[in-house]
């Protein structure tokens, strides 16, 4: 270790101070209008504005201090560690993994299986509602959606910005067919998958010749079309009012979760009435659906169609010259991805008991896509981690009342959700440009299995 790399070196500190001030100035101008000025309606219902210099000062201070710390202390520390590592000759990528690393998937699955009971045990019936529903089910829905989109974007390399359309098709399929025809959840679950897949093919046909940016724009428009149809076709969809009172899922037709019914689950098991049992039941359904999605994806990747998807992402012309029918390959990718979106949608409808077009805005598509990209396109584990971070993170934000101590009493963390979201994405993309898990597991190997290192893999070019 040479003296030049010591933290206290004047050059480093001077640089840190400089950069800290610079960051402060930039953030001052950046947040001046967003944070420094606030509009509100006064007593006469007129829109007036006031300044919030205090809050702005806090924002600027946070930016300046964190930049100062990053440049002055954190970065030299990381550099020194890297240098020491390089000197000691230990390779960055070590073959030896610790116990947790090796059995990560098993541990995660076991944790998920006991999760509802764990929360029931720790925080009781009423408290666990939040953990099972807001965290568990919510995150798993996004995991399933992201895994479904992963087939289209991650494997086949077709950038789809309107994925939420299939989610909407699934949700409305269930909502409409169950309230008009009284069909059961277990019948409609696969049916909405099929219907969404059909819509996937309908979207697929016109965009067969498109790639990249052009494809993205058309899929974006498709998503909006579906939403606008849902809003305006009021006779059937009830427009913006949405459809409420959607039937709950039954315990495979044996017991019902409606409190008044004769074969109520609660009565049959002699339990005290609580909605937590239904939530736990839903948790296991969505967990099973997620596992199904993962299983199908893993299996398909090893089959000719899955290999064709990946080859299509790499090089369409080469695919054709190898005798792959790119038309059917693209359509099956769209259909398969859409099917999982639709199934997730019908689950969403039964869980909410209410659907309206508001749940299927473009932002949802963007969030799902962000999860796929953050997780590392094509990696199921990475995507699941990203879903936990992104969706769980926003839920956690609601709980962070201590932030009020820093930013003042009328600070509502949820409102900064998108700001933090963006910040998190920038940070992840800067430090892990290929997502949390950037490596791609080969599906075929002769003797040894070796992951294709993330630093070699190219971003999908959509």
């Amino acid at each position: 270790m040479t003296a030049a790399t010591e933290t206290g070196h004047p050059n480093v500190l001077a640089k840190a101070v400089r950069e800290g001030i610079f960051a402060g100035v930039i953030s001052f101008f950046m947040f001046l209008l967003f944070v420094g000025v606030e509009t509100y309606q006064d007593i006469n219902n007129a829109l007036v504005w006031r300044t919030r210099w205090g809050l702005l000062a806090i924002f600027v201070l946070v930016a300046a201090v964190s930049r100062f710390l990053t440049v002055g202390f954190i970065k030299p520390h990381i550099d020194r560690r890297k240098l020491a590592k390089a000197k000691s000759g230990v390779l960055e990528i070590s073959e030896q993994k610790n116990f947790f690393h090796r059995h990560f998937l098993k541990i995660a699955l076991i944790f998920l299986l006991v999760y509802p009971f764990l929360s029931l045990l720790i925080v009781g019936k009423q408290g666990s509602l939040k953990y099972v529903d807001n965290f568990g089910i919510q995150i798993l829905i996004y995991v399933m959606l992201a895994w479904g989109l992963n087939i289209v974007v991650g494997l086949a390399g077709l950038l789809d910005l309107g994925y939420v359309a299939f989610y909407a098709v699934g949700a409305y399929s269930y909502a409409l067919l169950s309230s008009y025809f009284g069909l059961s959840f277990w019948l409609l679950l696969p049916m909405s998958g099929v219907l969404a897949a059909l819509w996937g093919i309908i979207l697929g046909f016109p965009v067969l010749r498109l790639r990249g940016d052009y494809l993205a724009i058309v899929t974006l428009a498709f998503g909006e079309i579906i939403r606008l149809v849902l809003i305006n076709w009021t006779d059937v969809t009830k427009g913006t009012f949405g459809i409420s009172g959607i039937a709950k899922a039954s315990f495979f037709g044996i017991w019902s979760f409606d409190t008044g019914s004769a074969n109520s689950f609660v009565k049959a098991w002699g339990l005290s009435a609580s909605s937590v049992y239904y939530k736990i039941f839903l948790f296991y359904i969505i967990l099973a659906l997620c596992m199904l999605t993962a299983y199908v994806t893993i299996r398909l990747r090893r089959m000719p169609i899955g290999r064709a998807w990946e080859a299509l992402r790499e090089d369409e012309i080469a695919c054709r010259s190898l005798g792959i029918n790119t038309v059917t390959t693209k359509l099956t990718a769209f259909a398969t991805g859409a099917m999982f979106g639709g199934i997730a949608g019908s689950f969403f409808a039964t869980r909410q008991g209410f659907v309206s077009p508001e749940s299927f805005v473009f932002l949802e598509s963007a969030v799902i896509l962000a999860i796929v990209v953050l997780g590392g396109m094509g990696s199921l584990t990475g995507i699941a981690i990203a879903a936990v971070v992104m969706v769980g993170g926003t839920e956690v934000l609601r709980e962070m009342s201590f932030l009020k101590a820093v930013f003042g009493p009328d600070f509502t963390p949820e409102l900064y959700r998108m700001l933090l979201f963006g910040l998190a994405m920038i940070i992840v993309m800067l430090f892990k440009p290929r997502g949390f898990v950037g490596s791609r597991e080969p599906t075929a190997f002769l003797k040894e299995r070796r992951a294709v290192s993330g630093s070699f893999t190219k971003e999908g070019h959509g």
Binding site: P304, D315, L322, I324
Partner: protein, 242 residues
């Protein structure tokens, strides 16, 4: 020699929009031959190659393969007639491993002969065996070319189309690749249609050759004849002996 005709290109014209890239091309390839097509940049060599593969399709004329008219077939169906191609720019799958790339080549038979054929490719190009679990995009140019040819061979082709296999490669590697092509032709009777700028090496390897200028075939003959032809020598060989 009663050569059996495998590929026959008859008066083919290909257009890019309104621009005519091929102006009535006639080319024949017989079974078991190595035929090369030489010409300057922009002569239409690669266009002819792509036209045989159906992308773009010929506007007029006919392409007959093994007695069947394939002029208007889509690319993937032409490939299923066992015309394998190592396209210009190699076009291997960069994120997939060497092994997976080869697997993609064997898709036509649903991997029925895969393990048998992959050994053959590894004997032909031992470098690929060493690199089998490496990602395609991390290979050197020569290795990528070997992979591209290897992938094409995995389809058990009746006709192998090679578009500029020597492009951007060191002479020693080019020599190795050409030797491999010769070996395949001799030992397995593989028919090869080769597009090359490296006229000397290509003609030396070939049974017959065509010279293309401005979208037309201007000369044809055996490889030796063309090599000896003073016009060919002046245009493609003198001063350009690679």
């Amino acid at each position: 020699m009663a050569a059996e005709n495998l590929l026959k290109v008859e008066a083919v014209e290909t257009y890019y929009g309104n621009i005519r890239a091929l102006a009535g091309v006639d080319v024949e390839v017989n079974k078991g031959e190595i035929v090369s097509l030489i010409g300057a940049n922009g002569a239409g060599k690669s266009t002819l190659m792509m036209t045989i593969c159906g992308s773009p399709q010929a506007r007029t004329g006919a392409i007959i393969f093994d007695g069947e008219d394939i002029t208007k077939l889509p690319t993937h169906l032409i490939a299923r007639r066992r015309i394998a191609q190592s396209p210009e720019g190699r076009r291997i799958f960069p994120r997939m491993t060497v092994y997976e790339n080869l697997q993609m080549g064997a898709g036509l038979d649903n991997l029925k002969y895969f393990s048998e054929d992959v050994e053959k490719i590894f004997t032909l190009f031992p470098r690929l065996k060493e690199r089998q679990s490496q990602r395609g995009g991390t290979l050197s140019g020569g290795e990528q070319q070997m992979l591209s040819i290897g992938r094409a061979l995995m389809a058990r082709p009746k006709l192998l189309l090679l578009d500029e296999p020597s492009l951007g490669l060191a002479p020693l590697i080019v020599k190795g690749i050409f030797e491999a092509i010769k070996k395949l032709n001799k030992e397995e009777g593989l028919t090869v249609f080769l597009v090359e700028q490296n006229a000397f090496a290509a003609l030396k390897l070939s049974d017959r050759g065509y010279v293309m200028v401005n979208g037309k075939v201007t000369m044809s003959g055996s490889g030796k004849e063309l090599l000896a032809n003073p016009e060919v020598r002046a245009a493609y060989l003198e001063g350009g002996r690679h």
